[in-house]
C-alpha cells in the first residue's frame, strides 16, 4: 500500500501545472476542505460519546444502517438486470428509458418524495391497491424509507454497472459461448467477475447515497423516531434543539462516507495498481 502511494505521488509530480491553474485548484481544495475543518473545530469532543450513546441517536443510527443496506440489496437485485438491458439490448426508446431510470438522481429528492407519495401513498394511484390487496402501506413506515432510498440510490448503481458492461470486451463472452457456456452461465462466470469492480463501486455509491438520503425520505416516510427517522433526519432536527448533537451526528456521517470513498479509490477505482502476484 505504502509503495503504491509513493508511486502515484511520483506520477503526479511528473507534470507541472501552470501557476494560475495550480492556485485555482488549491482554492477548490480549500472550498471542499474548509467546511469539514470548521465542523471538526467546533466539535464538542468531550461530549461526543454521551451524545452517541443517547437512545434516539442509537436508534436512528441502527435504522439508517439497516435501511441503507436493504436499499443497496434492492438496487443490486433490480439494478444489475436493468443495466444489462440498457447496455446490451437495442430497443426503441432506450435512451428515454435510461433517462427515466436515472431521473431520480437529478431531480430534487423532495420532488421524488412527492412523486412517491402520490403514486404509492395510501390514496395514491397504485398505493391504494397495495393497501387494498396486500395490506401494504408504504408512507410513514420503515419499508417506505427503504423504497425512498432505493428510488434515489439505484441510478448510481445502474449507471456504473451499465458503463462497465459497455466497456467490457464482448469477445471474451464469445469465447465462453464457443466453449459451451449458455448465456446465463457465461454471465455468471465471465461477465459478473469481470465487472466486479464496477459492481462494488456502484453498490458503495448507492449505499452512500441511501445513507445520506433526506428529502425523499422525510416527504414520503415522514419523521417518526424508531420507524422512519434516519440519521440525516435526526441531524436536521437536532440542529434546532441541540446543535452539539447535530455536529456529532454530522461527523459520524462524514466519517463513514470518507472512509468508504478512500477505500474505494484504492481498491476499485484504479487508484493504485494491484500488485502482480508472484
Amino acid at each position: 500500500m505504502r509503495r503504491s502511494r509513493a508511486g502515484s505521488i511520483r506520477q503526479v509530480s511528473g507534470e507541472r501545472l501552470p501557476v494560475p491553474a495550480l492556485v485555482i485548484a488549491l482554492v477548490a481544495i480549500a472550498f471542499f476542505a474548509l467546511p469539514f475543518i470548521g465542523l471538526l473545530w467546533r466539535a464538542p469532543w468531550s461530549t461526543a460519546w454521551s451524545v452517541l450513546s443517547k437512545d434516539h441517536v442509537r436508534t436512528a443510527l441502527v435504522l439508517s444502517i439497516k435501511c441503507s443496506l436493504a436499499a443497496t440489496v434492492l438496487a443490486l437485485i433490480f439494478g444489475v438486470p436493468l443495466a444489462w438491458l440498457l447496455a446490451r439490448v437495442r430497443f426503441p426508446g432506450r435512451s428515454v428509458v435510461r433517462a427515466l431510470c436515472t431521473l431520480s438522481m437529478v431531480v430534487p429528492p423532495v420532488v421524488g418524495g412527492v412523486a412517491l407519495f402520490f403514486s404509492f401513498g395510501r390514496r395514491g394511484l397504485f398505493g391504494q391497491y397495495l393497501d387494498r390487496w396486500f395490506d401494504l402501506r408504504l408512507p410513514f413506515t420503515t419499508p417506505g424509507v427503504v423504497v425512498a432510498q432505493t428510488f434515489v440510490a439505484m441510478p448510481f448503481l445502474v449507471l456504473t454497472v451499465e458503463a462497465a458492461l459497455r466497456q467490457l470486451d464482448r469477445r471474451f463472452e464469445d469465447a465462453a459461448r464457443t466453449l459451451g457456456g449458455s448465456r446465463w452461465y457465461v454471465f455468471r462466470r465471465i461477465t459478473l467477475p469481470t465487472i466486479t469492480p464496477a459492481l462494488v463501486a456502484g453498490s458503495v455509491l448507492a449505499w452512500a447515497r441511501a445513507l445520506g438520503e433526506f428529502g425523499a425520505t422525510i416527504t414520503f416516510a415522514g419523521n417518526y423516531p424508531g420507524r422512519t427517522q434516519t440519521m440525516p433526519l435526526a441531524t436536521y432536527l437536532a440542529l434546532e434543539s441541540d446543535p452539539e448533537e447535530a455536529l456529532i451526528l454530522s461527523l459520524v456521517l462524514i466519517g463513514v462516507s470518507f472512509v468508504v470513498l478512500v477505500g474505494l479509490r484504492d481498491r476499485w477505482l484504479g487508484g493504485a495498481p494491484r500488485p502482480v502476484a508472484a
Binding site: D169, R171, F172, D174, A175, A176, R177, T178, L179, G180, G181, S182, Y185, R189, I190, P193, T194, V276, A277
Partner: protein, 361 residues
Amino acid sequence: MSPGGTTGLSADIGLQLGALDLDVTLNVEPGEVVAILGPNGAGKSTVLRALAGLTPIHRGRITIGAADGVLAVDDPSAGVFVPPERRPVGVVFQDYLLFAHLSALENVAFGLRARGVPRSEARRQAGGWLERLGLADHAGHRPRQLSGGQAQRVALARALATEPRLLLLDEPLAALDAGTRSDVRRDLRRHLESFDGMRVLVTHDPVDAYALADRVAIMDAGRVVQIGTLSDVTAHPRSRYVANLVGINLVSGSVDGGVLTTESGAHVVIADAVAGPTFAVVRPQAVSLQRDAVATSSVRNIWPGTVADIDRIGDRCRVSLRGVLPLTAEITVSALESLALRPGDEIFAAVKATDIEAYPA
C-alpha cells in the same frame, strides 16, 4: 471439389455485415487443415464467426459431419440455427482471449464445467491437457503471467478440451513477436498434427499457411478467389492478386553452414544467418531462367529443371519446373519468347542468395 458434406465440414456462407458482402463456399475433409488467407477486411474472421455460430448467416447452409450423421448447424431457409455453445466447434481466438480472473487450469476446465462435468473431473482432464501441451508447471498461473507462446497453448488446450469436431484458429501467430514466432509455429504444427479433427486457420501470412495447412483458400472482398494446395496455387495462380499475395515458392529443409538441403537433396545457398530446420521463401519474380548451367554473375544458386507448365497471367508468365527442386518462375512474355520455352524443355533456374528469405521452421 470433394463433397465434404457427408463426414467433413460443408459451408455455404452468405451474409452482409456493414460494407462486407460475404459469399463463401468452403469444404473441409476430416483430418484436413485449410488456411484462409487474405488481407485485412477480406472477411476471413467473419467466416470463422459464422462457422462458430457467433454471427448467424443470412443465406446458405453449414453442416458438420458427425459420427451419427450430418449435423446442420446453420440453415436459415430451414429455420435451423444451433447456438455456439451447442456446436462441436472449438475456437482459438486472436489474442487468445484467456479469462484473466481464472488460472490456466481453470481456463482449460471452463468448457468442461460449462458442459456439466463435475469440478474435480474437469480439473483432472484440464490438467491432462496442460501436461500434453507442456504447460504442467503453469497450471496455477494467471494469463497475465504467461508468455505469448504459453498463452497460445493454453488457448489451444482450452479449445481442444471440449473435443470439438472442428477447430478454428483466428490468426494464431499474429500476437507474437518475431523472436518467438517460429518456435511457436513449430509447436503449433506439432500440436495440430496430433488433433485428428478438421482445422480451419485464418492468417494473413503465407508462411504460416504454408507451414500449417494442407490447402489454402484465398479470400478477397468477401469471396474465395482460389482454393487448392500450396504448390498448385503458386504454379497456377488464377489472378494477379493471388499471384502477388500467396504465389511464392516455399522450400523447406535443414540449414548447415549457410546451405539449405531439402529432403530431395537439392542445395540452396542462403544469405540469412539461420541454422537447423528452415523455410526458405523464393519469390517467383526473383527466379531467372537460362539455357546453360554456367554462372556468369554473382548468382549463387543454379538448379536444373524441366518445364512442366507455362501459365500466362496478363503480360507475365508463370513457368513451373519439375526436378530436384520444384520451383515456379515469373518472367515476362518477351523473355519467354526469346528463350522459346516449351513444356518438356530442360532449363536452369538461377536465384541470388540475397533474394531468398529464410525463416526458422
